[in-house]
Each structure stands twice: as structure tokens, then as C-alpha cells.
């Protein structure tokens, strides 16, 4: 996968969480993921078309997303509820938006669908394309989350 895609989604993630939740996640080393299992307890996934085709998912541990959304709303949220799912959809949308803006600057116009949110222990993530995806892990004080990208550039 083109490293510029990884950088765009990684930068998008840092930008959105710093701005909306006042949290600075620490990115880890990207790696290849071969199964469809989610790395977290709640995930948002968004389809991408245009100069690339595929999908991007965000998968949060319960502790990580509770902290992020509590910061966004300015009130403590103690369980994965409707507010959390709403927020995961919106965070997915925003990260995709920032990344797509970055990709537009290098001449790649990418469009996005409406995100969907899945939650529950051991849920799976079904990417638009089959095959392996790239995981970018992130750590915050309260837990872990990952960005899970499975895209191909269109010729």
C-alpha cells in the first residue's frame, strides 16, 4: 500500500482527536492484518471510492472510546451507549474527511460513503475489498485503538 495513504489516515486521526477531544494518541508501527476480527469493542467503518477503492475502519477498546467521547462531550460517559456509537460514526467521518483532503492535495480525489458502526466483544470488520488490511495502532493513556485500512489505488 502507498505510504501516503497510511500517512493521510494517520495524520487525520491525530488531527481529529487532538482538536475534538484534546487527546494526543501515540502511533505505533503499522502491520499487516490477515483476519476480519476487530481489534476493539466498537468500530466504525467507511467505504471509499474514486481514485482509490476500499474501506477504512476505526476500532476502539472500550476504555479508549469512553475517554475520547467523554472529552468530546465534556461529561463522563461510563458505558458504550448511543452517544458513543454516534460519536464513533462521526469520528470515522471526520478522519476520513481530513485524510481525503490530504489525498486531494496530491491529486487523488476520494469520495466516502456514510459510516456504519458495529459494537460488541469479538465483532468482525468486513472490508469492501477482501484480503489483508494495514493496521495503524494508536495508544492513549486509557487504552488502545487502531486504524484499519484496506484500499487499492484505481488505475
Amino acid at each position: 500500500m502507498d505510504v501516503r495513504f497510511i500517512n493521510a489516515f494517520s495524520e487525520g486521526t491525530l488531527n481529529v482527536l487532538r482538536t475534538m477531544a484534546n487527546i494526543s494518541p501515540v502511533p505505533g508501527k503499522p502491520y499487516l492484518k490477515k483476519d476480519g476480527m476487530a481489534n476493539g469493542d466498537v468500530s466504525g467503518i467507511i467505504g471509499l471510492t474514486g481514485a482509490v477503492t476500499g474501506s477504512m475502519a476505526l476500532s476502539f477498546s472500550e476504555k479508549a472510546i469512553l475517554k475520547i467521547v467523554s472529552n468530546m462531550l465534556g461529561e463522563e460517559i461510563k458505558e458504550i451507549n448511543g452517544d458513543i456509537k454516534d460519536a464513533v460514526g462521526e469520528i470515522t467521518n471526520m478522519i476520513s474527511g481530513v485524510a481525503r483532503k490530504e489525498l486531494e492535495l496530491i491529486g487523488l480525489k476520494v469520495l466516502a460513503a456514510i459510516p456504519t458502526v458495529v459494537s460488541g466483544k469479538g465483532h468482525s470488520i468486513t472490508h469492501v475489498l477482501g484480503g489483508p488490511s494495514i493496521i495503524i495502532p494508536f495508544e492513549i493513556e486509557d487504552g488502545l485503538f487502531v486504524v484499519d485500512i484496506c484500499i487499492n489505488r484505481m488505475e
Binding site: V69, L73, D83, D86, N93, G97, K101, E104
Partner: protein, 128 residues
């Protein structure tokens, strides 16, 4: 510039969480008089039943999008001069152009801080 911080703002977004986030940001900058609508259809109903001073609307919504709401507002003789701030995750150039063409007062791309939101509101009001 004198800004009426008590002006009535109509906040339109299909995500309740995002409305809550933006409402918090508005509160931080002193705007407390905020009404909410879930989409363009509900927003138009609110605009017909109550006098609003400012509209902040998301772009992507079911039933009626922010762009459709903007066009409906600009086509209504009683509402057409209302300040309209479009808030969206869509920063693509052609979207910005479409909103400008439809008469948007200003445009803000998510994510944003309370300061940026306040700057945009002040910029719009200073031109009126």
C-alpha cells in the same frame, strides 16, 4: 464589533452527539441561545415557526441535506438573508464551491475548535 451573544442560533445535525459537541463549543464562546434540528426538513419547520438569527448546519443529513436546506433558505423571501454557516467533514474543493454558489455565508471543515467556530461566526456577522 458588537455581537449579540444572545442571538438565536439554529443548529442542524443528524447526529445528536455532534449537536452536543457543537453546542458545547458555542457555549464556550458565549452563545447559549441554541435551538436544534435533526435535518433540513425539521430545520425548515423550525424556521417557519420561530424567528432565528443564525443557522449552523451539517452537510450530510438524511431527508434534506445541508446544501438543500441552504438552497431552500436562500429561495425563501422571508429567510434568504439569514447567516448560514455550513459545518461538514467534506473539505473537497468542489463541495466548497457548490456551497459558495448556493449562497453559504461561510464554511467550516470538521474538526474545529471553539476559537475557529467563533472566528467564523464573527466574520459572517461583521459583513452584515
Amino acid at each position: 464589533m458588537d455581537i449579540d451573544k444572545n442571538m438565536k442560533i439554529l443548529l442542524v445535525d443528524d447526529f445528536a452527539t455532534m449537536r452536543k459537541v457543537i453546542k458545547n463549543l458555542l457555549k464556550q464562546t458565549g452563545y447559549n441561545n441554541v435551538s436544534e434540528a435533526e435535518d433540513g426538513v425539521e430545520a425548515l419547520k423550525a424556521l417557519k415557526s420561530e424567528k432565528m438569527d443564525f443557522i449552523i448546519s451539517d452537510w450530510n443529513m438524511p431527508n434534506m441535506t445541508g446544501l438543500e436546506l441552504l438552497k431552500a433558505v436562500r429561495a425563501d423571501s422571508g429567510l434568504k438573508s439569514l447567516p448560514f454557516l455550513m459545518v461538514t467533514a467534506e473539505g473537497l474543493q468542489e463541495n466548497v464551491m457548490a456551497a459558495v454558489k448556493a449562497g453559504v455565508s461561510n464554511y467550516i471543515v470538521k474538526p474545529f475548535t471553539a476559537d475557529v467556530l467563533n472566528e467564523k461566526i464573527e466574520k459572517i456577522l461583521s459583513k452584515m
